[in-house]
């Protein structure tokens, strides 16, 4: 196998499973195609119905064959049953060599593990967590896991890197002619943004629901002109408790509260926190605390921002309700409070994954972000961030919109504890790279804040004397002093089990099978 080093020094094979890989060359320098991919044209005549009796009928109607590709959204998160139901059906039908393209795989999907081992599912494109990620790390899937960001996934579907034969859309409500929304019904999940590219570019689109509503469903998130079949089943396609949280927990850990507090101090010191400010953070405990600190500060100074983007949470919605933002752009909704807001507040706007983060469009929303707060499993001396692998080399997570927002936002902050347990988080080289250091401005830890010397905010932040600024090398030394040294290098074989794409489709890194 021939390898080429990419811009961040990672060795990328020239070809893998008959596919030529393009090494990452830096942001804005990746490959792009001249035209978008076009799915099959389907026609529905007057009088024809879309209701089908079962998932099996839909699989047949979509003409799925061995080697085919099916997709799912993950707005049901760990309460999703549909992906499992479809895979069980495919296995029962004797299909094999299927490529799975969900926007994320969660713990609840461990049921499909036997299908990886039996060659029924041979390739996965998405962020993957939990049991399935661990199995792939141990070489239990025949072909590759391709880890993409949310924007990268939308791009890959729209430019034809991934051709979806059937998109299965778990629909909280749908009418008989295929109009879907996510804000009503027992499985209400809020935004259906990650399913938009699938609905628009798959060759066949199936809505599966427990709540069939009369035509016309209102509001409409995914419209009838993209939906070929509707399957109403009494078997639950989701567990409402796993779909949204009633209340997300803000961290009470004083260490994480300090990190959250210091993130806000960095944003203040950057000069960005003024009229028209735009902001995104996630739904983790530290991110929620940051959002709440930010809300208090903006209220106290009467600062009115432009938009908040989510991961919509109650914390973000309350900022909208307080008049601190003009609008929320919502690609994914995390809690019931935010779902109600999306349903009732016209300034809470549902957006699709391409509008959110696809770099190869006429303009995605991440380009307009002032600040993004992100996490990670490790960060290195070049400010590269790992979100997918643990320090022992096992795949544990996807990356969400990490590399999209990091590239898009003016100020990208990585909020991360310096140690997890006894493992240093600032290291010489991360195990694998999800976001290149060129897109990272600041790393905030409980023991100091490192500013990337390449950041446009470097001079400004170093002048803020109240910030506990340290070099990234100093943070690494402090972590190693506390832990007694750097973490051990993971033990791996020479078989590549996953690639990490940059959002433009070039390859940032590869992940090797862990040695047992």
């Amino acid at each position: 196998m021939k390898f080429t080093a990419n811009k961040i020094g990672r060795k990328i094979p020239e070809e893998l499973f008959e596919k030529k890989l393009i090494p990452f060359q830096g942001k804005g320098k990746g490959p792009y195609k001249v035209r978008k991919y076009a799915p099959k044209i389907r026609m529905r005549r007057p009088g024809e119905q879309k209701i089908l009796g079962s998932i099996r009928e839909a699989i047949k109607a979509g003409e799925l064959t061995d080697g085919g590709t099916i997709s799912f959204h993950h707005h049901f998160r760990n309460g999703d049953f549909l992906l499992n139901m479809v895979c069980h059906e495919i296995a029962a039908m004797g299909l094999k060599d299927i490529r799975l393209v969900p926007s994320s795989i969660q713990g609840v999907h461990k049921e499909i593990l036997p299908y990886l081992e039996k060659g029924i599912i041979t390739e996965i494109n998405c962020g993957t967590s939990s049991v399935i990620a661990d199995a792939i790390s141990h070489g239990k899937m025949e072909r590759l896991l391709t880890i993409r960001s949310h924007g990268g996934r939308a791009r890959s579907i729209e430019n034809g890197d991934v051709e979806i034969d059937i998109a299965f859309i778990a629909a909280p409500t749908v009418d008989p002619y295929g109009n879907i929304n996510g804000v009503r019904g027992k499985n209400a999940c809020g935004s259906l943004g990650y399913a938009f590219p699938d609905a628009h570019f798959a060759n066949y689109v199936v809505a599966v629901t427990n709540d069939l509503v009369p035509f016309p469903n209102n509001p409409i998130s995914i419209s009838q002109d993209h939906v070929d079949a509707v399957v109403k089943t009494d078997k639950p396609i989701g567990d409402p408790k796993g779909i949204v949280s009633t209340t997300l927990r803000i961290t009470r850990d004083p260490k994480n509260l300090k990190i959250a507090h210091d993130c806000v101090e960095v944003i203040k010191a950057s000069g960005l926190l003024k009229e028209g400010f735009s902001y995104q953070s996630g739904a983790g405990g530290t991110a929620l605390a940051t959002t709440n600190f930010l809300r208090d500060y903006m209220k106290s100074k009467n600062i009115k921002g432009s938009f908040g983007m989510g991961g919509a949470t109650e914390a973000l919605v309350r900022m909208l309700e307080d008049g601190l933002f003009e609008a929320i752009l919502d690609v994914q909704t995390f809690d019931t409070y935010a779902v109600q807001s999306l349903l009732n507040n016209p300034r809470h706007i549902e957006i699709g994954a391409s509008q959110y983060a696809n770099p190869q469009t006429s303009g995605c929303a991440v380009n307009l972000l002032d600040t993004i707060i992100l996490g990670g499993t490790e960060v290195d001396l070049n400010f590269n961030v790992n979100t997918s692998t643990e320090s022992d080399g096992r795949i544990q997570w996807g990356m969400g919109g990490h590399q999209d927002t990091a590239e898009g936002a003016k100020l990208t902050i990585i909020a991360i504890p310096l140690l997890r347990g006894r493992i240093p988080i600032v290291v010489d080289n991360v195990v694998s790279v999800n976001t290149p250091g060129e897109n990272v401005d600041v790393v905030v830890t409980e023991r100091g804040i490192a500013v990337n010397p390449e950041s446009a905010f470097y001079d400004t932040l170093l002048k803020a004397k109240h910030l506990n600024i340290k070099t990234i090398e100093e943070l690494k030394r402090i972590a190693e002093d506390l832990a007694g040294g750097p973490p051990n290098q993971p033990k791996t074989t020479d078989r590549i089990v996953a690639i990490i794409e940059y959002r433009d489709g070039s390859v940032l890194d590869v992940i090797y099978q862990v040695a047992d």
Binding site: P254, K258, H261, E446, H466, L482
Partner: protein, 298 residues
């Protein structure tokens, strides 16, 4: 032991003293990151009897191995009449903490006993004698009665109040504004002031009531307390904010200190600022205000 009047023997800033259970490694490891002026590693009330040895060993090793930055490092040892005191001292004194908190301090003899034992251990381990300060906590009526003698004893740098125990000991009922401790606090503050020792206010138990903590700290400052004990890192910022002087206070303090220094240069005896005569206690208070302002801006 006679003290020189108007000479602060220890003017270290102790706006916040953060209690950390000595049997909790993660909390000990992160103790310094929150910016408390003082850290109190506890071997006493927060430690179950079955974990006294664990906590003692953990705190000893932590002080030896970790860097706690600018924070003052102190340990709350077990009381005079407990079977743990001797082991606590043998383990902790050789680590050269900045201070030892003595709970339930009741008499001058308690302090003298501790002073002598620390001195013996300092000599035994080749340490400079007298560097480790004693910080009694008054938690009983007897301690209150004897506080004037306690503050006059050697090594004393700060005196704390154990509000809960004191309230129980005098048979009072705890109130939100702490009025049952007013006399006791005043007595301790005056005794401390007479010997230029810092009086530290008791803890504020409700960690979710930040406004209540802020107001309680403001009251404590106005009465003469120099610091407040805190039981959760989230209380530190609130207490420091309460200790932050106003711009007006800062400007006035600057004028007082400047006028005083100029008068010293010129050999003048008396000096006035804003039409009022100032003398040394006023200058010292002004210096304290400036110190709090400087720390508050960090």
């Amino acid at each position: 032991m006679k003290k020189e009047p108007f000479k602060e023997k220890d003017d270290r800033l102790r706006r916040t003293r953060l209690y950390i259970p000595g049997n909790h490694p993660a909390m000990i490891q992160n103790a310094e990151i929150y910016g408390a002026d003082s850290l109190i590693f506890d071997l006493e009330d927060s430690i179950p009897l079955t974990e006294k040895d664990t906590a003692r060993i953990l705190v000893r090793n932590a002080i030896q191995a970790l860097n706690f930055g600018r924070s003052e490092v102190t340990v709350r040892i077990n009381g005079i009449n407990t079977p743990f005191l001797e082991k606590d001292l043998e383990a902790i004194v050789p680590t050269k903490p900045d201070g030892l908190l003595l709970p339930k301090a009741e008499t001058e003899e308690d302090i003298l006993f501790l002073h002598e034992r620390i001195t013996e251990l300092e000599k035994k381990h080749g340490l400079p004698v007298g560097k480790i300060r004693i910080m009694p906590i008054i938690e009983t009526a007897l301690g209150v009665v004897n506080v004037e003698k306690i503050v006059a004893a050697p090594r004393i740098a700060a005196v704390g109040i154990g509000g809960e125990d004191l309230t129980a000991d005098i048979g009072a009922i705890r109130t939100p504004d702490g009025r049952e401790l007013e006399y006791i606090s005043s007595k301790i503050i005056v005794a401390c002031a007479a010997y230029h020792i810092q009086a530290i206010d008791t803890v504020f138990a409700d960690i979710n009531d930040q406004e209540g903590l802020f107001q309680a700290t403001k009251r404590a400052i106005s009465r003469g307390f120099q610091g407040k004990s805190v039981i959760h890192p989230s209380q530190i910022e609130v207490v420091h904010r309460a200790f932050m002087p106003s711009e007006e206070e800062i400007e006035k303090a600057k004028r007082i200190v400047k006028a005083y220094r100029e008068s010293l240069k010129k050999g003048l005896g008396a000096v006035s600022v804003d039409g009022r005569m100032i003398d040394l206690p006023i200058v010292m208070r002004a210096e304290r205000i400036l110190k709090r302002a400087k720390a508050g801006k960090k």
